[in-house]
Structure formats: structure tokens, C-alpha cells
């Protein structure tokens, strides 16, 4: 009797729960909402002057910049500035702003407002504020004319298109008595972009929702998404299930296997495009066995580049030189580029006293944990070098620890191979050279400890030529990359490939590597 009562109670509970559950499962978002899935917290910073993290994916739909980089033309094109020009020496840049643009606060975009925004970013000196380093002063001679006076020639059209620190915003957005930084931190925005904040639920699955800004300067004629939701979904399997069930529109990144599983889907489309983020193996040129150039060259020949690409199953493409494809300064072939050649590697090792039958070579490779691609590449490098009598000891550690080890004053404590990703903050190859290969007395990002005075001079030249004669700058970058190949302080392993999934029927999507993981939702046409 008692058992029967319990069973009946359990059955009732199950029926109620099923009914509730069914109603919950079928309650999908509206088709006019673009649901973007990302694995990590979206809004780390809210301040457009200092933001320097994953918030780019949302900020780029709230804020705009003076110019915008087009990877197809490899040029910066007008955005909030309807035109721009420089003097011959590229030391004075004049931007003419669009008329009729308003901030989300309702105030109009003027040259004075843009000047105030950029000056605030420069003064705060946070995030990627260094992109404005060439600027000596800014003036606003008329309502829509913004003039930059530079300390030295620089491609300010490119700097102004940067993914961070180039946003134009209303510096008068905060109410009286509240600092602008504090106001931003509460989850407000003050941009000119097509979407503005609807709500921010920190720590929730749908962390952020943006809604249309009705007075957006490009207007809302035609078919556009009404809102954007940013879903934080750390597990790729859950992300895939949400995509499969039609609960979300776009998944930023899945693993290659899950991504491939959508290729035959009738409801989901897949896209793949190379990024500007490349994985570099920096070789210790200062101490340890890799201080010998011959050994570095041997390792460069021993790496199975195509094997790594194959193992990553479409997650990456081959990197020649250090400048990635799609960015000016990249070349599909370079003199002295390394292709896998074990015979040559063996011969070079032998001449240095190592290799099969010679002294055993022990190397320490460091990388950060949590990146399955780095895990796989480290293991592959270890197994590829083992037959050459090279023992690679893999040490996986948090970034602060990896970096501290690399900068250790005690040379014997430093690693031999340092794996890490690099990408530029604006469309200029200079970023790789000045950060990673410029001579440093105390290592900072030059963690191959490379020093080449000729290359140092060429970098400075190339930076200025980028503003005045980009063709010559491009040619200079070619010879600089060839020099790097000769000295082999770095093994460019691959360029990461973006693998996205998106609801079928959505059109207008372009993956712009200058703005990593950004979806310009205004440009999309929702599925019918």
C-alpha cells in the first residue's frame, strides 16, 4: 500500500516535471536575435579606452573606429571618417568625419568629441593605448575635421583601425558626479555602433544582450537582427548541442572533430578562414644547445610542418615566415624557408656533435595549459625529434609562470623552446618584429633573446615606410623574414584557422582576421 502510494507520487512528479521541461525546451529565442556562443567571459573590461580582452566581440558592435581594415584590399577604409589623407612625410593626418552620426547618449559625433575620446585613451595608457604613440598632438579645426600631428611618420590610417584602443566614444556620457570609468564599469556603453546594451548579467550563461540603436547612422532599412545575445558556453560539446538544436546562431570555436560533424548538417553551415594568430616556437639563441645556429636550423628542418597541420585537422594552415596570410608583408614563399628534411636535419646535428650516434640533446619546451592545440603540437615535436636523439621535456605552466621562467636572470633556468601565439593589434607586420625580434637588454617579449643590429635598423625603417611607401615596406619585410629564416631564432609552426558554425540561411558573414572573433551583426541578413 505504502509502496503503491510512493510509486503514484513519483509518477505524478515525473509527469509534472516532464510538462515543465517540455515547455522549457521548446522556448527558443526569437529568430531576430543573433545568439553568439563564446567559451569565456565576454565583458572583462567595459572601458573603450582600456579594454583589451574578449570583450572585443561585443564592443565591436557597440563602438566604431575612424577607419576599418579590409583584408581583401589590405587597406584601411573609411568608417566614422568618411575620408582621410596625410602629408607626404606622413606626419600630419587629416580625417574628415561623417555628418549625422550620434553616440548612444544622443550627442552628435564631432571632431572635438573624437579628439576627447582619443586623448582620454592616450592619457590612460592602458590596454593597447600604445597604438597612438606616434601622436604628438590632435586638433579639431572644424566640427568635422580632425588633424593628427605625429612625432614621426606612421601609418595612422592603420593605427586608427586597430581592434583595441581606437574606439570613438562620448567622453561626456557619465552623469555628473560619476567618473566615466566607473560608469562604464557598471555596464554602460557610449559608442556610435549599431547596437547598444540591453542588459548585462555577469556570470550568467547569456552574459550580455545588445539591442538596436534606433538612430544608427547607416539606418535600419532592410533585414537586420534586432538584438545580439552573447552566450558563455565553456564546453564545446554543449555548444555543439545548442547549435544543433537551433538554440544559438553562431559558435565561435568548436574542436575540429565537432566542427567537421556539422559539414553535412541541413540546418547548420560551417566556415573556415585563416586568422592572424600564429603559433611560434621561439628558440633560445642566448644559452643552452640552441645558442648554436646550426642546431636551431637542424630543429627547423626536423619539424614535420605538414604533419602538424594534418594532426590539427583543419584547425590551422601552414605559416611561411612570421607574417600571416591576409596581412600585407606576407609571402607565400620566402628564400630559405624550411620544409621538413630529416636528412638535412641529421647532417646539421652531426656537424654540431649531436644527432643519432652523437651526444644526446636535451631540450626544455614550455607552453601554457588548456590549449589542446599546444598540447598536441608539443607532443608531436617531442616524438618527431626523438629519432634524432633529441629528448624534449615538455613543461606546461600558467602564462605568468611561463613568462617568468623565460625572463629569469639565471640563464640556465630559461627554456630552450618557448611556444606562444602572437597576433597584431592593428594591421601592420611591425608588431611581430618590434616585440619579438628587436634586441632587448632585459628580455620582455623577445623570448628567443635574439639580437641583430641590422634587423633592428630595418624595423625602424619599415615602420616609417609603411606610412610613406608601403610597397617598399613590403619588400623590406620580405628580406627581414628571410634574415630570420637564416638565423632561425623562431620556428613559425602554423596560423590558426577560424572554424565557425552558423545557422544555415544567415548571409553576409565575413571573418575579418584584423578583428579576431568579431561578428559584425549589422552586416548579416537573418535566415528567412
Amino acid at each position: 500500500m505504502r509502496l503503491a502510494r510512493l510509486t503514484a507520487l513519483a509518477a505524478c512528479a515525473a509527469v509534472v516535471l516532464s510538462a515543465l521541461a517540455a515547455s522549457s525546451v521548446t522556448a527558443a529565442g526569437t529568430p531576430q536575435t543573433f545568439a553568439y556562443v563564446t567559451p569565456t567571459q565576454v565583458m572583462i573590461g567595459w572601458d573603450p579606452s582600456s579594454s583589451y580582452s574578449n570583450e572585443i566581440i561585443a564592443m565591436s558592435d557597440m563602438y566604431e573606429t575612424l577607419t576599418h581594415y579590409n583584408p581583401a584590399t589590405k587597406k584601411a577604409e573609411p568608417d566614422l571618417a568618411q575620408s582621410f589623407k596625410s602629408n607626404k612625410a606622413a606626419t600630419v593626418w587629416t580625417f574628415t568625419l561623417r555628418h549625422g552620426v550620434t553616440f548612444h547618449t544622443g550627442r552628435p559625433l564631432t571632431a572635438q568629441a573624437a579628439k576627447a575620446a582619443i586623448e582620454r585613451t592616450i592619457q590612460l595608457k592602458q590596454g593597447a593605448a600604445y597604438i597612438w604613440d606616434p601622436v604628438k598632438s590632435i586638433s579639431a579645426p572644424s566640427t568635422y575635421t580632425l588633424v593628427f600631428h605625429l612625432k614621426y611618420p606612421a601609418p595612422l590610417d592603420l593605427n586608427a583601425s586597430a581592434d583595441y584602443a581606437a574606439y570613438i566614444f562620448d567622453t561626456k556620457a557619465a552623469p555628473a558626479g560619476t567618473s566615466l570609468a566607473a560608469w562604464f564599469a557598471q555596464g554602460h556603453d557610449a559608442g556610435t555602433g549599431p547596437y547598444t546594451v540591453d542588459y548585462w548579467h555577469k556570470g550568467q550563461e547569456v552574459e550580455l544582450r545588445l539591442k538596436q540603436y534606433p538612430q544608427y547612422w547607416r539606418g535600419w532599412n532592410g533585414s537586420h537582427y534586432q538584438a545580439i545575445e552573447y552566450w558563455v558556453v565553456p564546453s564545446v560539446t554543449t555548444a555543439a548541442q545548442l547549435q544543433r538544436a537551433g538554440k544559438v546562431t553562431f559558435v565561435e570555436r568548436l574542436n575540429p572533430q565537432l566542427w567537421a560533424s556539422f559539414k553535412s548538417s541541413s540546418t547548420v553551415q560551417t566556415t573556415a578562414a585563416p586568422s592572424w594568430q600564429n603559433l611560434l616556437a621561439l628558440l633560445n639563441t642566448k644559452s643552452g644547445p640552441l645558442a648554436d645556429k646550426t642546431v636551431r636550423q637542424a630543429i627547423s628542418y626536423a619539424v614535420d610542418y605538414n604533419g602538424i597541420i594534418a594532426a590539427l585537422k583543419g584547425d590551422s594552415v601552414r605559416q611561411i615566415g612570421v607574417v600571416p596570410p591576409g596581412l600585407w608583408g606576407h609571402f607565400d614563399a620566402l628564400p630559405g624557408q624550411y620544409d621538413t628534411n630529416l636528412a638535412k636535419a641529421t647532417s646539421l646535428l652531426k656537424s654540431a656533435g649531436y644527432g643519432p650516434g652523437g651526444k644526446k640533446l636535451s631540450l626544455v619546451l614550455t607552453h601554457v595549459p588548456g590549449d589542446s592545440d599546444e598540447d598536441l603540437v608539443s607532443t608531436l615535436i617531442k616524438s618527431e625529434l626523438a629519432p634524432l636523439n633529441i629528448d624534449v621535456q615538455i613543461e606546461s605552466m600558467a602564462w605568468p609562470t611561463q613568462w617568468a621562467k623565460a625572463k629569469s636572470p639565471n640563464l640556465s633556468k630559461r627554456q630552450d623552446i618557448f611556444l606562444f601565439y602572437w597576433w597584431p593589434d592593428y594591421a601592420d607586420p611591425y608588431s611581430w618584429f618590434v616585440n619579438i625580434f628587436k634586441s632587448e637588454k632585459t628580455p620582455y617579449y623577445n623570448l628567443c633573446y635574439y639580437s641583430n643590429s641590422t634587423l633592428d635598423k630595418q624595423m625602424t625603417q619599415a615602420e616609417q615606410l609603411a606610412a610613406t611607401n608601403r610597397a617598399r615596406a613590403t619588400s623590406l619585410y620580405k628580406s627581414m623574414q628571410a634574415a630570420l629564416l637564416r638565423d632561425a631564432p623562431v620556428i613559425p609552426l602554423y596560423v590558426q584557422q577560424y572554424q565557425r558554425t552558423m545557422q544555415k540561411g544567415v548571409s553576409g558573414y565575413v571573418d575579418n582576421p584584423a578583428y579576431p572573433n568579431v561578428v559584425y551583426v549589422y552586416d548579416l541578413k537573418p535566415a528567412a
Binding site: 522556448a27 556570470g203 550563461e205 554543449t238 605568468p400 617579449y445
Partner: protein, 338 residues
């Protein structure tokens, strides 16, 4: 009882302070500069120096610890390096999510584990006993991430019965906005009478709660079984049986009550343990709780967040142990709180 509470609270606070100092020292002894995570991947040396100063990392360790304790007392638990927000504010949103999940899971574990243990003890060696023991081993040994994936596959992908992730359906945010009181959607929606969110929150809780409940449920079932079998062999139970009491009364009144003492003790400990150890479940079900927060903090050597989570968990442990002592005294008249 009051002197007991005061003494135990004082002891607890000493333990918490010790745990915090130890965590602080360990986190700072690990080589690496947490400021490098704060400034981002391409920051200049000047930005790094400024960040070290802002975060107080350029001060001697004892000064950092002293400032930390002073801050804790005044409600300033530092700023998290990974989220750039006050740790206390982060914990204010993360901890309720974990409390909701773990609380629901433990209720489920008790609701299933206690009757299952009794059932197994009542029919020792028979089919129900075998089934309960098998289920308990399954619950304890099944990796939580695997169990979670299986449940998602069955109940979301195949049966379309339960939601796959999140705390409630985000579409309701526009149609039935939830007013937040304690950052627990289930409680908040109940308090505000927001029934669509309440039903959604309830169904979203089912799968993660089952996964988290599997381990404590298995332990509780086995513990109840063993404790009840022990008690059944004792003199007072034999006497009750000899007096002709019904078997149901023997189990429910005379065997189960003394057997609950170790169960209460383990439940409290599992509760505190689960708060920060469900990060895999949280990751799979997109449950923004303490576990995923702590995991991210450890990866970037986020000392304020690591110490903040440790402090919170230590406080919960101390409170849970105190509650256990009081509960045991209430359950067992032989225990006196002095």
C-alpha cells in the same frame, strides 16, 4: 551551548586565518607575475609596472597579507585579475549559483540515498541490496563529466525533455524579466512569483543536480546501509524486536535515527567540498558557479580570486562543521555541547 558556540567560532576563525595565510603564501611563492595576466598579452613594461603597483604586488609579502586581512574586515577582498572586478562582487554572483546547485544536489542525494540505504539494509543480500550497492558504486565511480554528457545526450538531444545548459531560458529575460534578490534564479523567481522563470529554473536544475548528487548519493546510501546494519545488531534493537514492534518501526524509529549521525557529518563535508569541486559539471552545463571561477583563477595565478574562494570555502567548512556538531547533539542525546 553558548560558550561552546563562541569557543568553536573562535577556533574556526583561527583555522580560516591560517588557511588564508597559507594560500596567500603558496600563490605568491609560485614563480610568475600575476600582473602579466592583468595587463593582457601585449602590454608594455611600463603598463606591467603600473599594474604591479595598482595591485599592490610591489609591496613585501607580509604587507600584502596584512592589507588583505584589513581589506577582508572592511569588505574589500581585492580585485580579481581575470575578471577585473571586486572578488566579493564575483563571489556574490558565483557562490549563490553553486549553493543552489550543490544544495539541490544534496537534497536529491539525501532523498535517494537514505531510503536506498534503508532498503538495502532491510533486504540485506537480496536483490534490492544488490541493486542499491551497484547504483552506489556507479554513482561514486562514474566520472562526473562523462555522466553529464550522457544525460545531455539522452534528455536533451534524444528525448528533447530537459534543457542542455544554463540556469533558465534566456528568452525569458525579455518576456519575463527576473528581479534579482539572492542571485539564485529558483529562489528569486519564487520570491517574485515569476512562474515562467521558476519552472524554467527548476527544469534547468535537474540534470546538473543529478550529476552532482551521484557521488554523495552513493556514499550516503552505502553509509546508511552500513550504519543501520550495525545498529540492528545492538542490544536496544534486539530488545525492541523482542517486544514485538513492527519491522517498519524498528527500522524507522530505532535503527535509522542513531545511524544518521555519520550521514549528517559526511553530508556537511561533501557540501563544502562540492562547492568548489564541481567545475567540470559547471563547465558542461554552463553553470556560472564557484568551481569554474576557481579553475580560471588558478590558471592565471589570480591570487585575490584564489584566496577569496579559499576564504569563502573555509568559512563554509567551519560553519558546516559547527552545524554538524549541533545537529549531532540534536540527533543523539548522548552528545553534549560543552
Amino acid at each position: 551551548m553558548t560558550p561552546f558556540l563562541v569557543r568553536r567560532t573562535a577556533h574556526g576563525l583561527v583555522v580560516v586565518a591560517g588557511v588564508v595565510i597559507l594560500t596567500f603564501v603558496i600563490a605568491r611563492v609560485v614563480p610568475g607575475d600575476p600582473a602579466s595576466s592583468w595587463v593582457g598579452p601585449h602590454a608594455s613594461a611600463a603598463q606591467l609596472r603600473a599594474a604591479r603597483h595598482t595591485l599592490g604586488l610591489d609591496r613585501p609579502l607580509p604587507v600584502q597579507i596584512w592589507r588583505y586581512f584589513r581589506g577582508v574586515v572592511t569588505g574589500d577582498w581585492g580585485v580579481a585579475i581575470t575578471t577585473h572586478r571586486p572578488v566579493l562582487s564575483d563571489l556574490g554572483t558565483r557562490a549563490p549559483a553553486s549553493l543552489e546547485l550543490v544544495g539541490a544536489a544534496l537534497l536529491l542525494a539525501l532523498a535517494a540515498g537514505v531510503p536506498a540505504g534503508l532498503l538495502a539494509a532491510r533486504w540485506r543480500g537480496a536483490a534490492p541490496d544488490l541493486l542499491v550497492r551497484l547504483a552506489a558504486v556507479f554513482g561514486v565511480s562514474m566520472p562526473s563529466f562523462w555522466f553529464a554528457l550522457i544525460l545531455q545526450l539522452v534528455f536533451f538531444q534524444r528525448l528533447h525533455l530537459l534543457p542542455v545548459s544554463g540556469q533558465y531560458d534566456p528568452a525569458l529575460d525579455t518576456t519575463h524579466p527576473l528581479s534579482t534578490h539572492v542571485h539564485m534564479p529558483l529562489v528569486d523567481s519564487l520570491v517574485s512569483g515569476n512562474w515562467p522563470v521558476f519552472t524554467s529554473a527548476l527544469t534547468h536544475l535537474v540534470l546538473p543536480a543529478i550529476v552532482v548528487a551521484a557521488y554523495p548519493g552513493g556514499i550516503i546510501a552505502r553509509m546508511v546501509r552500513a550504519a543501520v546494519l550495525d545498529t540492528l545488531g545492538e542490544d536496544h534493537v534486539r530488545m525492541v524486536r523482542a517486544l514485538g514492534f513492527a519491522e517498519r518501526t524498528v527500522f524507522a524509529r530505532y535503527a535509522l535515527k542513531p545511524a544518521l549521525n555519520p550521514v549528517v557529518s559526511v553530508t556537511a563535508l561533501v557540501f563544502a567540498y562540492s562547492l568548489a569541486n564541481t567545475f567540470l559539471v559547471e563547465a558542461i552545463f554552463d553553470w556560472g558557479g564557484l568551481g569554474s571561477y576557481a579553475a580560471a583563477a588558478i590558471q592565471s595565478l589570480d591570487t585575490p580570486a584564489i584566496v577569496g574562494v579559499t576564504l569563502f570555502i573555509a568559512l563554509v567548512y567551519v560553519a558546516a562543521n559547527l552545524a554538524v556538531d549541533i545537529a549531532q547533539a540534536a540527533l543523539d542525546p548522548r552528545i553534549k555541547l560543552r
